[in-house]
Amino acid sequence: MKELIKTLTETYGPSGNEEKIRNVIKDLVTPYADEVKVDALGNLIVHKKGSGDKLMLAAHMDEIGIIVTNIDDKGFIRFSSVGGVSPFILLGERVIFENGTIGVIGVEKIDDMKELKMKRLFIDIGASSKEEVMSKVKVGDMATYYRECNFLGKNISAKSLDDRAGCAVLIKALQEVENPKYDLYFVFTTQEEVGTRGAKTSAYSIEPELAIVVDVTICGDTPEGEKIAVDLGKGPAIKIKDMSVLSHPKIKQLLIDTAEKNNIPYQREVLDLGGTDAGSIHLTKEGVPSGGIAIPTRYVHTPSEMVNLDDLENTVKLLLAVIEG
């Protein structure tokens, strides 16, 4: 699991630019799949045949990032956000483009931190002219945080654990599943961070009878932190609601019953901010009963998101217990 997380989180893949991460995942899943395809929006749809109802399992491949809006004559790059990126988090960060170009985030002289806005920041890739930048980076190119994955005790810290942690769980579950009770579709979706867009078209083509989304959720266990009853290390959080979906009672109960029957620790996620792919999936066509398993994660949308290894293993266990019945 550790190696898998390292590989996935250190791969580039902001929303709309998921080609690299898709190829990495494709290589990992193809030997275990009956069919693998990529749709018009870039979703990776992995079919593992089973006899029962169609169950769509989704985790998003894309991560937050930034997009180049202007390059000035001296070679400094202005940018805007792709998904929920904060200028405060970006201060002093390094970023990486798809072709491997690395840049440092600089800031104009400001006297009051309240004035810190995205438009006061710029990227410096060490170029001294516009022409030099243009040979490496163009307007419209996207970059992500540039950060190594580290193992801190039982915890893992890395960029893009949202939602590569979910991708890792899906990959493990696919590799380990033996007797699926459902006809399984493992979907690695695109453009979740900009509005759960990939999930919409993939659910449309699959027409699942039910869906479970594996994504991260915030934790409430840090000093003066968020008010949410989810702690790191206390097990996967079964989604009750987020801002995009109220979990279907049937799915919610299935997950809770399965966790209890198999003695898997679990928590309940009641999220007051943010949405997930379940928001798009459950409204597809005539409606799809949908729910989710959330991996407790500290410092979401920073370059140092943090998850717990036991939580990851237990999420895989819970998912396997569900799909094997």
């Binding site: 929303s15 709309g16 630019n17 080609e19 749709d39 018009a40 929006l41 979703n43 997009i67 809006t69 202007n70 000035d72 202005r78 805007s80 956000s81 792709v82 438009k119 163009k138 307007v139 419209g140 453009q191 900009v194 509005g195 867009r197 919409k200 078209t201 993939s202 449309y204 083509s205």
Partner: protein, 339 residues
């Protein structure tokens, strides 16, 4: 430009696009089969030689405007905005209301009667009203009904060497470009969608694309240009005269990367000026179109337009012509090389 003049001067606030629809129908009926769908989208289909890919070109017919919400005892009309309008630009503008094009002026309390504090604040919609010269409520009700749309009353003109000035260039420019392209003959299947209700939430385009089922979609827009005093150069999202602008990302949409790169390639090969749209603000029908059904590779190409969502906007004729040329060559490229 006569067609663009007609389109710009037609009233077509979201939900009331029939004048624009009729102009386009009249202009294009000889060139392709068409229908108007349940939401009012005008859809054209040219089978041509039946070659694939089936390409959809789309532009929205609707514009931002106002809707009458009540008629006061003294004959003045209260209103709300339809689509994104900056309240501050409304006062003292002329409008036409309803199907009979009743003329009106957006009025406010005279400056002499505003106390010093009031003068410091920009007027909001609630402080404004429309004056149609009616004696009283009864007189006004003979001409205007609650729910009627009001639309800016702006003459379309060419000013300077090659600048067009008029209202609703967002997105009558797109309608003009799509119309001109529909007149041309290709080997691939072409569908043209003139959509409704874009300005109030991209509502028409979804059902349009659901019916037309194209392989790829090209959305043509009049996007905002911020190449003006008060904006730093690094904040110019598009610049007039520098050619059509190609979107990578906006609030509704991330362009299909392969298609986006192909547009730049085609532009270069055919020596057509072309610029990246340098912002991720705004939203277009592209966002809705690409997520319909199993997903449709989509791109948005825009004519840079200053002062959109106001009574008067400006665009460069060369940009308009280059947008037509660029999409023409893009279609030919698809015809030759497929997807």
């Amino acid at each position: 430009m006569l067609l663009l003049k007609k389109l710009s001067e037609a009233a077509g606030v979201s939900g009331c696009e029939n004048e624009v629809r009729n102009i386009l129908k009249e202009e294009l009926k000889e060139y392709a089969d068409f229908k108007t769908d349940a939401l009012g989208n005008l859809l054209f289909e040219k089978k041509n030689k039946g070659k694939k890919p089936r390409i959809m070109i789309a532009a929205h017919m609707d514009e931002v405007g106002l809707m009458i919400t009540s008629i006061l005892k003294n004959g003045f009309l209260k209103f709300e905005s339809v689509g994104g309008i900056d309240d501050r630009i409304l006062v003292s503008k002329t409008v036409t209301i309803g199907p009979n094009k009743i003329k009106g002026v957006i009025g406010a309390k005279p400056i002499h009667r505003q106390d010093p504090k009031e003068r410091e604040n920009a007027l909001k919609i609630k402080n404004l009203y429309i004056d149609i010269g009616a004696k009283d409520q009864e007189d006004a009700e003979k001409k205007v009904k609650i729910g009627d749309y009001a639309c800016f009353d702006t003459e379309f003109e060419i000013i300077g060497e090659n600048i067009v000035k008029g209202k609703a260039l967002d997105d009558r420019i797109g309608c003009f470009v799509v119309a001109e392209l529909l007149k041309r003959n290709y080997e691939v299947e072409i569908c043209g969608a003139f959509t409704v209700q874009e300005e109030i939430g991209l509502r028409g385009s979804g059902v349009a694309v659901y019916q037309l089922k194209p392989d790829v979609a090209i959305v043509v827009e009049g996007t905002f240009a911020s190449d003006v005093p008060g904006t730093k150069e690094e904040e110019y999202n598009t610049v007039l005269g520098m050619g059509p602008a190609v979107t990578t990302m906006d609030r509704s949409f991330i362009a299909n990367k392969g298609m986006r790169d192909r547009v730049f390639e085609v532009a270069k090969k055919n020596n057509i000026p072309c610029q990246p749209r340098r912002t991720n603000l705004g939203g277009t029908d592209g966002g809705r179109i690409q997520s319909i059904g199993e997903g449709i590779p989509t791109i948005v190409i825009s004519v840079p337009t200053r002062y959109i969502h106001s009574p008067v906007s400006m665009a460069d004729i060369n940009d308009i012509n280059n947008t037509i040329l660029l999409i023409n060559f893009l279609i030919l490229d698809y015809q030759e090389r497929g997807i």
